[in-house]
Assembly symmetry: C2
């Protein structure tokens, strides 16, 4: 069994790798270099892919349509710092998951994988339209129609094992499957060595997760 | 009204430009440089965008997952020459339209366009899974759920004005809207100056279209 996994280098996608590895799958890792501020993420993705013995890891250069106006790629937009999020966050990037999954769909068809895994959570990221259960359902319906393998009867499916898990539950799942979270990077403003700020929304969510799971926080802080 | 149009530089997308221009839309043209053999297509796309006064034309570098195994990007796979097509053609590229439309979806959201036009035909290209009416319907459903504008009530829609037209009917539509087909390139093996072979499937389909429409074939042949 071959599985494609979208790996950002963060906590969630590393957990997915551990989980999918436990299913006995042959792992194909995809990461995207879309001009994200924090290149430390991609370095972490390389470590994660290695940790789980991926048979292939591709880092795809992909310029996103939104080159400005969102907090993940535009240095002039402030990243959210401990502000409670309502509505759609400023870290929303138009069609990002759709673009990533579309690429993964083609890649899966090329390598002969039937499953594409993404570490999306509708609990922690409920503000993102493209992290909701109904989104993944709609994508799967489209994907079944779009591809040769789908037409021939074996559609490729997007799988979202973390969709209904809190951050704490995700961490528990990862610990069960041997994920070393010290090599993962979640911080929106991580430095080049992957050290986290401890203050941004992403850091706070992660901290809270470790605390709630009762697991020691192995995150490397320090800037 | 703003409209995004996917323009390859071929006959179909040029026709769509003429049609959309006649609706009074402000035109945003997207083309993709995905390592296609025939760069003459992209040169033609530039001419087409200019001909219809596009306010913006972006050529997006996009490495497709299928770097080998299909006739459009892999020089070791023969392009079909006048063979009647049954089933899914060798020119099928996994998830190509899905990837292009996903990019266009994000781009449309960024520039504030509500419509994305693509010159797909289910008549002439019935073998491609991602040229069928049900595919575009499924993509639209997904797109409405995927985006901020969709969630807020104004989904972006993929529009396919050529979907039920034969090549001859497409040419008639284009002639009505002032399309100069001499600048378009359809040939799978066009030379650098855009001159067509006249023998490949794409050339033959185009020739037949001009003949059936009773319109002089202005294609530049010559290699």
């Amino acid at each position: 069994m071959k599985a494609v996994i979208l790996v950002s280098g963060g906590l969630d996608s590393a957990t997915v790798c551990g989980y999918v590895k436990s299913l006995g799958a042959e792992i194909y890792v995809l990461s995207f270099d879309y001009g994200q501020r924090h290149k430390a993420e991609l370095k972490a993705a390389v470590k994660v892919a290695k940790m789980f013995g991926a048979v292939r890891h591709e880092i795809i250069p992909l310029s996103l349509p939104a080159s400005s106006g969102n907090a993940l790629t535009d240095a002039s937009v402030a990243v959210p710092m401990g502000v409670s999020i309502t509505g759609i966050p400023v870290t929303y990037v138009p069609a990002r998951n759709t673009l990533f999954l579309s690429y993964a769909l083609g890649f899966a068809e090329v390598v002969g994988a039937k499953d594409i895994y993404i570490g999306a959570s509708s609990v922690d990221y409920s503000g993102y339209p493209d992290c909701r259960p109904e989104y993944f359902e709609a994508f799967n319906k489209m994907a079944a129609i779009a591809t040769k393998v789908g037409v021939e009867g074996e559609p490729i499916q997007i799988k979202t094992p973390l969709l209904y898990l809190t951050k704490a539950q995700t961490i528990e799942l990862g610990m069960k499957h041997g994920v070393d979270y010290s090599i993962t990077v979640s911080c929106y403003t991580a430095d080049d060595d992957g050290r986290a700020c401890g203050r941004c929304d992403s850091c706070q969510l992660r901290k809270k997760g470790f605390a709630e799971a009762g697991v020691a926080d192995v995150t490397q802080y320090g800037h």
